[in-house]
């Protein structure tokens, strides 16, 4: 057994322990520790990716040498490594970019609390990525929820608090459904580890018994995770949550958190459920159509929105719709596209949130998009960042959004029945994206109506983050081939 194979476990533990340690040290130190932890775990994820890429197969990692069904397992393959790496990168840049704002927004004594939440978030995301055990997944889902809530409410203003409580309520609902789904699954199969559970499910499917309970399980788990990831029409907690948190939190929440749940869902769908159940139960169809509805409605809400943050947040609703649409296609290509879009959207949305902050700064803290007029001249870099993000969102070639659009569209050809709806939904949604994002971009470059007071130059780390995200976008847009191949390989390893 190679030493590298320990890395998934190490990275989860490192993140968690840095959280625990942070509770007793000062905010500054906690910050440094947190950054270091993210950096280290990211490197580890890269190592895991490289390792599994080289060996060409995934491995399971037994915790404490308890075999199934009692033990607790971690599983790492190319896909897990890749997702963990992406999460780490986005997280690192987001945290780095928001450093100053975090210090400003958070009460001085509670800075370490914030970084505890970041660490917990990291560890729970990694755990969701790596875990091979459904109940562990549930526990980390809850940890993730708590960390997310903490990130939101750390900013002590009314909107954050109310957003946090709504987030908690919705998340709890989702968790509850997820939990009951797990319990039912356990009841039916007697397994909690994914691989034995899959065998059991396959047996059940072959014996043609428990049809309805299996459907219920599938539905409950899907709905639970859909609520948690904000699929339309369970989205209404999203705008406030994303829009009113501190920049780092916004970027992480919108870019990563919901993606962790989606990745978990993909894992459950492909590693636990049998294809027969997926196909007969129309679950995928439901996800697909809700995804498309989300693409449309999210964008329409965004168009009606004037507040920039909420607009971007509603755009997330639309983008999550894309991902569910990809999953709902029920093909390898569709899932590949969905996973690639997880990356692409993570990079882009974080970029948008971070650069939007730069624009608020340059406009005296106003967030209304009409008040951002002329911000493009006052803060050129942030405006360029925002423009690049927006262009990526509308699928400009050479940026990441184009590739995910392309993947969605080409994968639609594998599923003839959903081909036309997918293509047209993509086109319409792109157009709608253009409406609200580019409206804002134009606004940025128009001369201001009145002189804006209190313009503050943003800090170097915000700028660095913007540049990094732009580069990340370009990398995803121009060198997507290996990434997509890795996703494909990882998906093959699922079985």
């Amino acid at each position: 057994m190679s030493f590298v194979q320990n890395f998934p476990f190490f990275s989860i533990i490192i993140a968690m322990f840095s959280g625990i340690v942070s509770s007793v040290i000062s905010g500054k130190k906690a910050r440094n520790l947190s950054l270091a932890a993210i950096a280290v775990t990211t490197c580890m994820s890269a190592a895991v990716l490289a390792f599994t890429w080289r060996t060409g197969e995934s491995y399971t990692y037994m915790m404490g040498h308890f075999p199934a069904p009692w033990g607790n397992e971690i599983r790492a393959g190319v896909l897990e490594g890749l997702v963990a790496l992406m999460f780490g990168v986005v997280m690192f840049i987001s945290v780095m970019g928001g450093l100053d704002h975090t210090e400003k927004d958070v009460e001085p004594g509670k800075l370490n609390l914030f970084y505890i939440m970041i660490d917990l978030m990291l560890s729970s995301l990694l755990a969701l990525v790596y875990t091979n055990d459904l109940f562990t997944a549930y526990v980390f889902v809850e940890i993730n929820t708590i960390a997310g809530c903490g990130l939101i409410m750390i900013r002590q203003w009314g909107r954050s608090l109310s957003a946090a409580i709504r987030y908690m309520v919705m998340s709890s609902l989702g968790s509850g459904l997820f939990l009951i789904g797990l319990s039912l699954l356990y009841d039916v199969t007697g397994q909690l580890l994914m691989i034995p559970a899959k065998e059991a499910v396959a047996q059940i499917a072959a014996s043609d018994t428990y049809v309805i309970p299996m459907l219920v399980i599938l539905a409950v788990i899907s709905v639970g995770l859909a609520i948690k990831s904000g699929l339309y029409p369970f989205h209404y907690w999203i705008p406030d949550t994303y829009a009113y948190a501190t920049p780092t939190a916004s970027a992480i929440l919108s870019g990563l958190v919901s993606k962790g749940y989606i990745f978990l869902l993909i894992k459950i769908l492909y590693r636990v459920m049998s294809p027969e159940h997926l196909m007969e139960g129309y679950t995928l169809d439901v996800l697909y159509w809700f995804g498309i509805a989300g693409m449309m409605m999210g964008s329409i809400h965004a168009i009606q929105e004037k507040d920039t943050g909420r607009m971007i947040a509603y755009s997330s609703v639309a983008q999550i719709g894309y991902i569910y649409m990809g999953i709902g296609l029920g093909t390898l290509g569709g899932t590949t596209a969905a996973i690639f879009h997880i990356f692409s959207h993570g990079a882009t949305k974080a970029l948008l949130f971070i650069s939007a902050v730069g624009l608020y700064e340059a406009s005296g803290g106003e967030r209304d998009y009409l008040s951002l007029r002329g911000a493009g001249y006052r803060n050129p870099l942030a405006a360029i960042g925002f423009t690049v993000g927006a262009m990526s969102m509308v699928g400009f070639p050479m940026l990441s959004g184009f590739i995910s659009k392309l993947l969605f569209a080409t994968s639609a050809f594998e599923n003839t029945g959903k081909l036309l709806p997918t293509l047209i939904a993509l086109a319409v949604s792109t157009t709608l994206n253009a409406v609200y994002f580019l409206r804002l971009v134009i606004s940025l470059y128009r001369p201001e109506r009145k002189k804006v007071g209190g313009v503050r130059r943003d800090s170097w780390n915000l700028r660095l983050a913007v540049v990094c995200f732009i580069l990340l976008n370009l990398v995803l847009g121009l060198f997507s081939q290996p990434i997509v191949r890795a996703i494909g390989q990882g998906l093959e390893m699922f079985d």
Binding site: L161, G176, I180, Y186
Partner: protein
């Protein structure tokens, strides 16, 4: 049908409880009652799990009297899950309560709808 439900009374009750809890969490405007609803929901799941793990006539899965044979004990996994679940649920409840306190201090109300209205008004000024 009814006999089926009566035979599986634990499952039936847990599902009813889950429904009650879920509905309360989702629909009740009062934050405290929402939290209570959440707890009912979680408890329902624990009940369900415990019922699933119970095997009539066996012992608690704690080694006692030196009996090594696994068949003397009930399935330990659900019990473990319930314990973990309770921990999680407690922490979530704590977090929600703390949030509720914050909101109450700020807005003087426990009614979420009212709070949201107040938040909006605050945003305008």
């Amino acid at each position: 049908m009814f006999t089926h439900l009566m035979l599986n009374i634990e499952e039936t009750v847990s599902m009813i409880l889950f429904g009650i809890g879920f509905t309360t969490l989702l629909l009740h405007p009062n934050l405290i009652k929402k939290i209570i609803g959440m707890n009912i929901m979680d408890t329902a799941v624990y009940l369900f799990l415990a019922a699933k793990g119970y095997i009539a006539g066996r012992m608690v899965p704690i080694m006692s009297d030196g009996i090594q044979d696994a068949s003397a004990y009930i399935n330990p996994v659900p019990s473990g899950l319930v314990l973990t679940g309770i921990v999680v649920s407690v922490s979530t409840t704590a977090l929600m309560l703390s949030l509720t306190i914050r909101l109450y201090e700020r807005y003087g109300s426990l009614n979420l709808d009212r709070i949201l209205i107040l938040v909006k008004e605050e945003g305008k000024t």
